[in-house]
């Protein structure tokens, strides 16, 4: 009798999960406000490291199986500090799509953060993203590297919102410079992460040069940069601040403004590719992993 009652209770509880108000209902279970905790974890774990290594996956857009395989591969490596998702976790902005991606990223047992993509803004997607991850503009310091992660999908807001948010970038730059004043060279490198980059149809291209000007103020960029080949990784890349982006579903590595700031355009998950960036005080390297 007890067994029957227990079984019935279990069935009812599992049935409760099945009650969904709407495919776009943002009433989701599981971990939320992820950035706050992830950033603390990244900053704590990378504090005194001399090598910072992060994996970059982007544009899942329904390629959930592929993301699962990529994360399993990343986990096997054992030397990755954290994961960044480059946006477009969802294809249609459905909360369930965010949940699928989050649960796979959780399985990595590594801290992870995500920038917002244009597909993530569809329907109630933007609110789901904010609820699950936090503010789409955020920054953190992984050891000596400053990461600035930006919402750059201006077209989704019909250019009516400050996207990219220059006030945020300026305030963030000031906070980094203050850190460097307090302890010289505590931050020597900068990585800007975004979904769409200057020149894309999603970007507010009226602001491309202003955007570049703002990024040039960060440590390791513009006048602050020393440009030379580090010889780390596949690319033999330089010692300079750099940008990582997704969106275009192709590999497109370019120094858009001719100032040493390379934009690493990364391809989508369906191609079964992810990227590893390794940063030392002497420079950084980039590896393209086909799994």
């Amino acid at each position: 009798m007890h067994g029957f009652v227990g079984c019935f209770a279990c069935m009812m509880l599992s049935a409760c999960d099945l009650f969904e108000y709407h495919p776009y209902s943002t009433d989701i279970n599981g971990r939320t406000n992820i950035h706050a905790e992830s950033i603390k974890q990244i900053e704590r774990q990378c504090k005194d490291k001399s090598v910072i290594r992060f994996a970059f996956v982007t544009d899942t857009q329904g390629s959930v199986d592929e993301l699962k395989d990529a994360i399993a591969d990343i986990r096997k490596r054992g030397n990755i500090d954290f994961i960044i998702h480059g946006g477009d976790q969802s294809d249609f902005g459905l909360p369930k799509e965010f949940v699928w991606c989050r649960d796979i990223l959780e399985a990595s047992r590594l801290p992870y953060v995500a920038v917002i993509g244009n597909h993530d803004c569809l329907g109630s997607g933007e609110y789901t993203f904010k609820y699950m991850y936090g503010n789409p503009n955020f920054s953190f310091n992984a050891g000596f590297v400053h990461f600035i992660c930006l919402n750059t999908v201006a077209l989704e807001y019909d250019y009516s919102n400050p996207v990219p948010d220059l006030k945020f970038i300026e305030a963030d730059k000031d906070s980094v410079l203050v850190l460097n004043e307090q302890a010289a060279d505590s931050i020597v490198h900068t990585v800007a992460v975004m979904h769409s980059r200057p020149g894309d149809e999603q970007f507010n291209n009226n602001l491309t040069h202003v955007f570049n000007y703002y990024l040039e103020q960060f440590p390791g960029a513009g006048k602050n940069a020393e440009v030379y080949d580090s010889g780390i990784g596949d690319s033999g890349a330089k010692k300079h601040a750099f940008c990582v982006n997704g969106h275009n579903h192709c590999d497109d590595i370019r120094d858009i403004f001719g100032n040493g700031m390379t934009y690493y355009g990364c391809t989508d998950m369906s191609k079964r590719v992810y990227y590893i960036f390794t940063i030392t005080k002497d420079g950084y390297g980039y590896d393209r992993i086909v799994y």
């Binding site: 049935a15 999960d17 709407h22 329904g62 294809d91």
Partner: protein
């Protein structure tokens, strides 16, 4: 001679007047007349014309009946309250049951979606079509519909969602509508038949549950085997009140 002629004339005129009066009365009362003053032949033709008129009237009444019945069929006879089911947290609807065995049902429903983590609550509109292949009467009080099939279209009534991509996008940028969702589902229903003496308005009261999925979920599940089936299935429970 002149006197005789005058008498005959008066008699004939009297007959004519008599007949005319009888006929007019006949038309007014819409029935046959009896009167000694009417000749047999006149009576017969009268009866024929009455018959024709009655037939015409019957047809007219039939048409009116049909007309009334048609409009009467537009009076909804089902009222539904549903919890969850991908059309809102709570939805209310009116519906029509029809078909020889009442095997078809059409419902229009309005659903309410609370705010959760969105700045506004949403309302959604649903058009639902149900087919009930079997209805099994268990006893005087109960019947079960062991399976019903449903298709429904749902639309969120909010400017955050669009049917056609807004003009700011290049043509065919997303290629889907975030506003219109297409669902299919299955369910079961138990109906209580209210005894005649205890009826107020309803003659039936039903409890049902159903599972359904939507177009976008099916697509994602089709492309990704790792997505659990339970993630694309949604459960709904509801009650239904049937009048007439």
């Amino acid at each position: 001679m002149t006197e005789l002629f005058t008498k005959i004339s008066v008699t004939v005129m009297g007959l004519i007047v008599c007949c005319t009066a009888a006929m007019s009365q006949d038309i007014k009362e819409n029935c046959c007349v009896t009167g000694d003053c009417i000749a047999d032949t006149t009576l017969k033709s009268k009866a024929d014309s009455c018959e024709i008129e009655r037939m015409v009237n019957e047809k007219y009444h039939k048409r009116i009946d049909r007309y009334m019945r048609r409009w009467a069929s537009l009076v909804p006879n089902k009222y539904t309250l549903q919890y969850a089911g991908d059309i809102g947290m709570l939805s209310v609807g009116v519906g029509w049951g029809y078909g020889k065995r009442q095997q078809w049902e059409t419902h229009v429903m309005m659903g309410y979606l609370p705010k959760n983590h969105t700045p506004d609550e949403y309302w959604s509109f649903t058009l639902k079509q149900i087919y009930i292949p079997w209805s099994i009467r268990l006893n005087r009080l109960l019947s079960v519909e062991p399976l019903y099939c449903t298709v429904f279209i749902n639309s969120i009534l909010s400017s955050d969602f669009w049917t056609k991509e807004p003009d700011r996008y290049p043509k065919g940028y997303y290629g889907f509508s975030s506003k219109m969702r297409f669902h299919v589902g299955l369910g079961q229903k138990v109906t209580i038949h209210i005894p005649t003496e205890k009826r107020y308005l309803a003659d039936k009261f039903s409890v049902y549950y159903g599972v359904s999925t939507c177009d976008l979920y099916v697509r994602q599940k089709f492309l990704n085997s790792s997505i659990p089936l339970k993630d694309i299935i949604c459960l709904a429970v509801g009650i239904q009140y049937t009048v007439m």
